[in-house]
Every structure is written in C-alpha cells, then in structure tokens.
Amino acid sequence: MKQKIIERAKELLTSGEIGGFLALKQEGVHIAPHLFTDPAELDMLSLGDGQGLGDARYPLVKLLYTLAERFPQEKFGIMVRGCDERALNQLLKEDRACPMTAGRVIPVGFSCPEELAQACECAKPWPDALVAGEKTQAFPPPEADMADLMAELQQWFGEADRCLKCLGCKNSCPVCVCHECTLEEEAMLPQRQLPPTPNFLFTRAVHMVDRCVYCGLCEAACPAGIPLKKLYRLVAQLVGQGIPLVGASPRPQPQPAAQL
C-alpha cells in the first residue's frame, strides 16, 4: 500500500506538478513529518505505523497550512488518511485568511486497516482521494445516552481535574490553525497561576463542535490520557449536532500527470 503512495508522489514531484509532498519519513525507528522535495527520498516514506498501527501519526494538514502561508506560490501534495482528508475539507470549507485553496493541494490517500478503524471508532476510515487501499468497514460509536446527563457530566468534571493545560490537544489538532487561539488568551490561561478547571477542557470542546474530524491526535498527545473524542462527541450532541461526520464533501479525483 505504501508503494502506491510513493509512486504517485514520485509522479507528482518529477512532473513538477507539485513543489513538495507532505508525508512522514522513517529513519531507523523514528518517524517524523517531512516535506519531500527530492523524489529519491520518497523511499523512506512511512504511513505512520510505528510499533503499532497508526501510532506514529502527525497533523500533516496543520503543517500544510503553515507551508501554504509561507510559500503562497507553491502547490503541494499531501499523504492523507480518511481523517486527514476530512480535516483538509473542513479547513477549505472555512473562509480563512490563509491563501490555501483546493487548487493548491493534491491529496494522495490510503485507507486504514479495520483494526485501527475500530480502535479509532472511525466513521469513515478512507479518504475520497483514494490511491491505495479500499473502502473498509466503518465503526461509528453510538450516541451518548442522555438519560443521566448530570451523572455523565459529573464524570467529566473529574476528568477535567487531570488536565495539565499542556496545549497538546490544540497543538496536535489538524483543524486548529487559528493564529490567535482562545485557549491562549489571558482569561483562559492566566500567567503565573493555575488555570481554572474545567474551563479549559470545556472551552475547547465547544470550539470543536462541528469542526472536529475525530482523528484522535489530541488523545494521542494528551499526557493525562483523557478520552477527548468522547467529550467532543458529547458536547456536539448536547448542542444538537448529532454524531458529526465533518467536512465530507467529496473532492474531485486528482488527474494523473500523463492525462493532462
């Protein structure tokens, strides 16, 4: 499956259609985000499977936005899972100041194995821009039972006490690209004091309503092991959004260079 991604990326780079391909690079045991500009380096591409499936993922879409702002003339390719593509579509849908448009990015996607999709409780473990793999089974979680909402929320207040306010969730989130982040406002994170709990956690949950793509990178980055996806789903449901499947408008299939 990796080979197909590498081939497609090589095609796009050598044809000059893209200036760089955003993906992951493996050197020894370490897997890191990388902007491939030399096709020869692509043999070191990694899908993000370290010791286990999908345990070495990074927010590539977030990196795409940083680069798109810095290099407004360039066109990029990006390796995407189902969640990455949802994040990309979400950001493109939002009217942001960044000069990033659908025409400047070519997603090269692959589907996630069933085991990972199940662990992530993913509602759509494949991107529309599918280059490798096939549509696999989805594992959307059931809606939260609202019958005993107060008991549910009490549990969450307990969880919120464990939050370190390390900002790992916000820093890992592929749709968190705001230059001025609410969570870093003096009112939310006052200097030289312990920030008020559970404000931080719940404020982020509210900001994630109708934006979160449930990629789980926040949970992977949380040192306290708080089940953040579950909270974001709960809050989204509370404000009447149901179980969101965000930013799912299909993107046109990329044309192979030879056909252009």
Binding site: G20, P33, K165, C222
Partner: protein, 135 residues
C-alpha cells in the same frame, strides 16, 4: 522551500522527552513530540511544546552581565569569572565556608555534578550541597 524536522531532546527537566524541532529556511517555527520515543510516546508538557519559542528569541541572554552603579552592563567572561572568584574568596574569608551553598542540577551530566560538589567540598570547604529538585 526548506522544511526540516530535527530530532532533539528537551532542555528543561531531567525526563528527557524527545521532540522534533520544525524549521522553515533555518528558522524555528514549531515543535512536535516524537511519537516513537519510549520516554514520552508522543506527549509533551507545556514547556516542551514551547521550546521553539525561546531558542532564537531576541530576549535571550548572550553575554555575562555585571551590575555596576546599580545598572546591569555587559562584560567579558573573564571579568565576570574574576569577579565571582574574588567575591567567593572574600565571603569565605569573612563568613566561613559554610556560608556558601551549592545547588546541583538535573539537567547537567553526572560528571558536571561531580565537579560541582568537588568544588564545594574541596575548594570551598563546605558540605552545603543540595539539588535543584529540592527547591
């Protein structure tokens, strides 16, 4: 268009979390925890997440500063060290070696910590040696 992610170790506490320092054209733009490091497994504390901010900060100290006439002025390393050695000798002579205390560090090597306590015990002549973690 040069984006690099360089593996490094956090300079703050003794944990030694690994992260990638992200640079664009040589300038630090971000930090990402290393997902493959057994020490931190893709997690960082808030200090680690902000490492990229201080490294190239214009507010960073670059030269020793000495207070002269109530104002901090830049001096050479030689002048700074001469001043410290001079003062320590005077304090030891006037108030005795036990008036000076030493705090070792979690962020330096065992060898450096050894030299520090050797300096405290053999050179200055005090047992007042403790560790930054006790602060």
């Amino acid at each position: 268009m040069d984006y690099k992610s360089t593996l490094s170790v956090c300079p703050y506490c003794g944990c030694g979390c690994s992260f990638y320092l992200e640079t664009i054209d040589g300038k630090l733009v971000g930090t990402k925890p290393s997902a493959t490091s057994p020490v931190n497994n893709g997690k960082l504390c808030v200090k680690g997440w902000k490492v990229h901010e201080f490294v190239q900060s214009p507010r960073r100290l670059t030269n020793p500063l000495l207070r002269k006439n109530g104002e901090l002025v830049e001096v050479s390393w030689d002048e700074a060290l001469d001043y410290v050695a001079d003062k320590l000798k005077k304090i030891k002579a006037e108030h005795g070696p036990d008036s000076i205390a030493f705090l070792a560090s979690a962020k330096i090597t065992n060898e450096d910590n050894y030299v520090l306590q050797k300096f405290a015990r053999a050179a200055v002549g005090t047992n007042n040696v403790d560790h930054c973690a006790r602060l």
